[in-house]
């Protein structure tokens, strides 16, 4: 029953247009494996993420979707005892190359986290934080306004930019975090289950926002919500826990195709709700 409903949802999403030209790849991994200490989290994942599209990563808990996402901006290297093998490339360049500064990577590849995490500062200071640490010499007032407009939050907060970011509702906080990420003018935005802590209305607003942002940015979104992947993404990757205990890529295809005619029986089992 559930599977059928999901199928219908996908059928009713015709706004996903198929790009004709060969897609330009912006991010890619080659046989990427990852370990937390002895525990394997990813097992040889090779994937190419197209530019200016929304790529969703779905899969059961513990399949390494978040770990995979965090490899793109080198957030995982902060975890003691973690370890990787393989390559992560951003515009053809290995980001784990010793000469690459993780700080510059993170400026170009922004991130929105699972739980909204605004700084305990004013809305204004939240937005300008990135610009300040990166030494950007922009008109800060203008930066705040454009970033908040892009994140569809401006009209709700424009009268009190001095209030604390923590005084906002959960959904507003998450849009503030998106605005904050946009303010440093990244090319890619990684989103790690951005709606899992939000109510359905706030979730809808974030999803609308993602659809607007895909015109300018490349978005990679991890979600445990298949309907969400179907609603917002152009491409979907399905991860599962492999025999090695680490996450592996089962299938990566256009969202529409993956949800209607999956080529792997494991994908079909997952999206029809028989597993996970």
């Amino acid at each position: 029953m559930i599977g059928l409903q999901i199928g219908k949802t996908v059928f009713r999403a015709p706004e996903v247009e198929q790009p004709e030209a060969p897609e330009e790849t912006i991010l890619s991994t080659k046989k990427l494996s990852f370990w937390y200490g002895e525990k394997r989290a990813l097992d040889g994942i090779s994937m190419e993420i197209p530019v200016r599209q929304v790529t969703a990563i779905i899969g059961p808990s513990g399949c390494g979707k978040s770990t995979y996402l965090r490899c793109f901006n080198r957030m995982n290297e902060l975890i003691p005892g973690s370890n990787f093998d393989g390559a992560v490339e951003y515009r053809g360049r290995d980001i784990n190359d010793g000469r690459v500064d993780p700080v510059s990577i993170r400026r170009q590849i922004g991130m929105v986290f699972q739980k909204p995490n605004p700084f305990p500062k004013s809305i204004y200071d939240n937005i300008v934080f990135g610009a300040k640490v990166n030494g950007m010499s922009a008109d800060m007032d203008e930066l705040v306004e454009t970033s908040l407009r892009k994140a569809a939050l401006w009209d709700e907060v424009k009268n009190d930019l001095k209030q604390s970011g923590l005084a906002l509702s959960g959904g507003q906080q998450q849009r503030l975090c998106i605005a904050r990420a946009l303010a440093v003018e990244p090319e890619v935005i990684l989103m790690d289950e951005p709606c899992s802590a939000l109510d359905p209305i706030a979730t809808t607003r974030i999803e609308d926002l993602i659809r607007t942002l895909r015109e300018t940015y490349t978005i990679v979104i991890v979600t445990h919500n298949m309907q969400q992947a179907a609603r917002v993404s152009d491409k979907t990757a399905f991860f599962t826990v492999g025999e090695s205990g680490g996450g592996e890529l089962v299938e990566f295809d256009d969202t529409q195709r993956l949800f209607t005619t999956p080529s792997d029986p494991r994908t079909e089992a997952y999206i029809t709700g028989r597993f996970g």
């Binding site: 400026r107 986290f113 305990p120 990135g130 990166n134 923590l166």
Partner: protein, 293 residues
């Protein structure tokens, strides 16, 4: 069987209620005991000493005539020592805490250092006095100066500041660190712009408590040879000095009754200095807390 069970349950309910009330009363008594003892102490000291505290008492040097005696030099010495101690112990203590929480690799050496610092907080103060005497007074030839005293006092309170600052830094959620780094902040920017502002109220609370302890400490300063009779103002960090608790101790140890009354007056001044410096520090801390919303 059923009746028995019911009786048992009822008895149990009443029993639990009595135990609950008894515990609440016991904690109340424990609280009141502290407050009442403090009130009695304050009352006693104020009755004995409040009449001694006047402008002359605060501005006169100690003297062998009780009526001419005052604690000007001790008050200034305490101010000097407190200022220098804070200036040295705060940056070093917070720096050590930042290193241990944000930079240190998680290996056995770090853990050994951490455990040792926690243990240092429990070392008797007279031991620090002996260390100060050996290292600062003699080896570094600082003499019995207010600088040597402040350095000794800094060593004494450093573990307290480090432990409190580490707790405060650890309480800053990792999500804020990640947010900061994900926006392209360097490690130092993350620490200075995100972690420290959030941890500052906790760090300041620890520092206030540590400095309060420094105000009252006597043993390490006697050990390094802080004088008991100073009839001039300390002008700089290399001058000889005395502090309020030493002056009080000196007066108490004299046989004349009049000096005991002076000692009570000294205690009143000491308590007022303590409360004043604490309130100033708490005001500063509250400003920080408001700033972070």
């Amino acid at each position: 069987m059923i009746t028995l069970g019911e009786t048992g349950t009822r008895f149990h309910t009443i029993y639990r209620r009595i135990v609950g009330r008894g515990f609440a009363t016991a904690t109340l008594i424990a609280t009141l005991l502290g407050v009442v003892m403090l009130a009695v102490l304050m009352f006693d000291v104020f009755r004995d000493g409040a009449h001694e505290v006047d402008g002359e008492f605060l501005t006169s040097y100690p003297s062998r005539f009780p009526e001419k005696s005052g604690l000007r030099s001790a008050l200034l010495g305490t101010a000097w020592m407190l200022g220098l101690t804070a200036a040295m112990a705060f940056p070093i203590g917070v720096g050590a805490a930042i290193y241990m929480e944000e930079y240190a690799p998680n290996n056995w050496l770090t853990r050994v250092i951490q455990i040792n610092i926690a243990n240092l907080a429990g070392v008797p103060s007279v031991v620090y006095g002996l260390l100060g005497l050996g290292v600062f007074v003699r080896a570094m030839e600082l003499g019995r100066s207010v600088l040597a005293g402040s350095m000794t006092m800094s060593l004494l309170i450093l573990p307290l500041i480090i432990v409190a600052s580490r707790e405060a830094i650890r309480a800053v959620p990792d999500s804020l660190r990640e947010a900061s780094l994900a926006l392209g902040a360097s490690r130092w920017q993350m620490v200075s712009r995100t972690v420290l502002p959030s941890a500052m109220p906790g760090i300041l609370t620890g520092t206030i408590l540590a400095l309060s302890r420094a105000i009252g400490e006597t043993a390490p300063l006697i050990t390094i040879g802080a004088l008991t009779y100073i009839a001039f103002d300390p002008q700089g960090p290399m001058d000889l000095f005395t502090v309020l608790p030493i002056q009080i101790f000196n007066w108490v140890s004299l046989p004349q009754k009049e000096f005991h009354s002076l000692a009570a007056g000294g205690i009143v001044v000491l308590l007022v200095v303590l409360l004043l410096s604490n309130s100033v520090a708490i005001l500063i801390r509250n400003r920080f807390e408001r700033r972070r919303y």
